[in-house]
Amino acid sequence: MGLLDFFKKKSSGDVAKDRLKLLLVSDRANCSPEIMEQIKNDIIAVISKYMDVDTEGLDIQITSTDLDGNSASVPAIFANIPIRDIRSSQGHPSVANQEPSGAEEGAARKPKNDQAAADNSAEKSANKNNNNNKNNNNNNNNQNNNSNKNGKNHSGYKGYQANKR
């Protein structure tokens, strides 16, 4: 062990401190189910403003993820939120997509509504890359909430999607 190693190496006390800090964050989060419940309900409330989500199939957890260039993993919130449909918006202006770090939005599909679901998932991935503006304007023309009732609008919707791509 060279002299340089001696200076570079963290003391075991410091290692213990770092480990404990990370450990306690995840322990505390896992041990307070009330907090997790509140976070879950708040996330559902926010997302439900823009789209109809499946609250039964929703999964939100604390997990750990590796930060780039860092050997230690940090706790992260993982959210898997199945979308039923995009809501018709009530004139929402441009929305900054502030998702919780580490959250992935899955697009679990409902078997009865395949067409709508397929469009929704494409819509969702488009959302990730683009501003919500255009989609909201498009939504204003649609009245689809839960079911695929308005076929005309829906194909118009699809047409829009095709143009975008």
Binding site: S11, S12, G13, D14, A16, K17, R19, L20, K21, L23, L24, D27, R28, C31, S32
Partner: protein, 268 residues
């Protein structure tokens, strides 16, 4: 009005019983009337650490089951007036007592004409029935931990549970078995580290002291004597009474080189 303090930790073996014995004895030596209650039913040890194991006639379980009056189960320590112990049963387990029964016992002690100043509950390790019983009537908690990863992790969990029982703001930490030589080498968490991690005030630090083993062997708590641990425990008792006592220098002064380096660094 009696103050009800629970001494807990989560982790086993960090020094709850030793701390209860020393704090109880220390407060009594400082003139207060103290009752200590062992809630570790089935694995009682407070009696043996205090050297009172031969004086037990009735215990906590007898009290809650109505086999005796409360005062009959209270053992007074001949060496230290004002100090009383309610031991628990060795041949039962923690299901023998419920939290409601604990609250009744505590209220009965509070209403007693003796006007006890402190009721100190020695909590068992864990988070199950024993912990629930010990915390039931408590208004204040002293969380004992050692400067080690597993103890601190468990202490944090216990603090969370105490918060959920309404003790938030009435919790303080005692760091036991501190070794300043290891802290200086960087091989042990310091008091500041523990405070930073647990985010609670540290009411005192007790050094790792051989004299504790000797004291337990003899059944005589060492609080107030000339040993480092004895001084540390006395300081904690004074702080409980509201005195502002500066931290003890608990680094041991062995070795010539150490004395020399202290000379150069100046006294800490």
């Amino acid at each position: 009005m009696s103050e009800v303090i629970v001494v807990t930790s989560g982790k086993g073996g960090v020094g709850k019983t030793t701390t209860t014995a020393n704090i109880g004895t220390g407060l009594a030596k400082l003139g207060k009337k103290v009752v200590m209650i062992d809630t570790d039913t089935g694995l009682r040890n407070l009696d043996v650490v205090l050297g009172l194991e031969n004086r037990i006639v009735y215990n906590l379980v007898d009290v809650v089951e109505g086999n005796c009056r409360l005062k009959q189960a209270m053992i007074s320590d001949k060496r230290c007036p004002n100090l009383y112990l309610i031991p628990t049963a060795q041949t039962r387990d923690k299901s023998a007592v419920t939290p409601e029964q604990m609250i009744n016992v505590i209220n009965e002690i509070r209403d007693d004409e003796e006007n006890f100043d402190y009721i100190i509950l020695d909590c068992p390790a864990g988070i199950e029935q024993g912990f629930q019983n010990a915390v039931a009537g408590a208004e204040r908690a002293l969380i004992v931990t050692t400067p080690e990863v597993s103890a601190i992790r468990d202490a944090d969990r216990i603090i969370g549970l105490l918060d959920s029982k309404g003790l938030s703001g009435h919790e303080q930490v005692i760091v036991n078995r501190m070794r300043m030589d290891m802290v200086e080498r960087g091989d042990m968490l310091s008091e500041e580290d523990v405070k930073d991690i647990l985010q609670l005030d540290i009411i005192g630090v007790v050094p790792d002291d051989e004299n504790i083993v000797v004291a337990t062997n003899k059944g005589q708590p060492l609080v107030g004597d000339s040993s480092l641990a004895g001084q540390a425990y006395e300081n904690i008792c004074r702080r409980i009474l509201g005195e502002d006592v500066p931290r003890l220098d608990i680094s041991s002064n062995k070795g010539f080189l150490r004395k020399l380096s202290k000379l150069f660094k100046g006294s800490k």
